[in-house]
Amino acid sequence: MKTGFIANLLTAAFLTTSLAQGADITLLNVSYDPTRELYADFNNVFAAYWKGKTGDKVTIRQSHGGSGKQARAVIDGLEADVITLALAYDIDAIATKGQIKPGWQKELPHNSAPYTSTIVFLVRKGNPKKIKNWDDLVKPGVSVITPNPKTSGGARWNYLAAWAFALHQPGGNDAKAKEFVIKLLKNVPVLDSGARGSTNTFVQRGLGDVLLAWENEAFLALNELGPDKFDVVTPSESILAEPPVTVVDRVADKRGTRKVAEEYLKYLYTDEGQKIAAKHYYRPINTKIPTKLAKVKLYTIDKAFGGWQKAQKTHFADGGTFDQIYDVKK
């Protein structure tokens, strides 16, 4: 009773402080882990642009975490105006709860993914194990660090990238691809629960010869933690990761922020937005924007796996290929 009362009081206090006054607008962008630096940068630029255009002051708040966890928070009521996650599957999960209109992925160009990324290797300086491509990862004595695909969106891309590589080798099929992934997982000593956890294991604990990571994460780690300690190796082929963005209809309509939320996402597609994405080592979809990233042959999730729903079911749901591998391995 007493708690409830105090909780109500606090809620009231909380609401009054967060209620927008006049043309002060707040947006909440719920995102996944590796976009912190990107949005910290982009939010400032957008706020300045919006102020210049409309005179309104917009403050964008950020929440970051694992992609699946963030999707769950929105499903359970976290009031995100826009959501920018690692994979479409997670946004689909919100859409099935009726908070986002079906067909959201067609709302914005390019499958609602304003930037793309891929999976690359971070290795120790000088690349002592001579890791050049995916088939080097399954060699005996190579220790690979990747997070658990059951709990990390990034790890799912890693897993599918390896699978897609094996699938596209001469004579490749699903059985051979599974063989390949089994061999690869045998070289994994630790499965962290999130992408940043794995980076820390690789960098701070000194475990492993190679870290499978988002391209932007690999470069960020390289810059932040020591260009003298690591190298980024881009394999000849990999997977095209399309982290999608969308407006959460339920929240935007309720809070009356639809217009600014939509503009916010659209701004990601402008030259300005694309340049910021490129600066943070994402691959801009506008090919005119210069990028420092190496050319890679990229497979799409739709072509190689028949879309996220199917990939999730085949590989990561309970009893999927990932579980099969570990249940056999014992």
Binding site: T3, G68, K69, L191, R205, F316, Y326
Partner: protein, 276 residues
Amino acid sequence: MKLFKRHNNVLPGFGLSIGFTIFYLSVIVLIPLSSLVFRTAGLTWGEFISTVTAPRVMASYKVTFGAAIIAALINSIFGVLVAWVLVRYRFPGRRIVDALVDLPFALPTAVAGITLATIYSPNGWVGRYLEPHGIKAAFTPFGIVLAMTFIGLPFVVRTVQPVIEEIEVELEEAAVCLGANRRQTLQRIIFPMLLPSILTGFALSFARGVGEYGSIIFIAGNMPMVSEITPLLIITKLEQFDYQGATAIACVMLLTSFLMLLVINLLQKWSRRYAE
């Protein structure tokens, strides 16, 4: 018979205090926890059983409960020793050591996990001396025991400590006067007095270990079938938006801990009666 005893009790406030206790317990603990059961009820019995007895899940029970028992045992032995030393002996730095005991509470579990991994990983302060001897501390089930020992230690020390402080010296003196030597005094007088609180400490340390998540994932390695703890499997289910699967496993954990706590509390009651 028990009810009769209560009527004879002259102390006031039973109705009020028990009423409030049950009310607060219900609002904060029981009603929220019941939501787990209701959510799980969406599963059929067969689905429930196959979820909670899947090989991965069974392996995780073994790892989680096994490591928690080992950690609680380590803590019971060393925790009592620490409590005794802190209360009965005087040595330089005693107060600092006393404060240090609460550290595992104050340190966020994630920090604890990161820190323990820093110390015990192969390139860590201690780990680098263990590695040449073939002892892998971090990223193995041993790492789980380490983390659980760390987070559970204050429970034993802080439960036993006040009881040692309350032991009346007269009792020990009387024992000596009656011709008991020190060992007999410890064994016959002190230990029985401490036993209930040691059991409480053991139970709490065990229970805390079973549920721990934040610190363990940093140091366990999280390999399926080997070092994957049950709470991690719950998270795994949640990540797949499988709320029912998650709450099903949670219910099993809850029930198991509840039964173990109940047994220990009964044991404690028995030990108290034995001591009297």
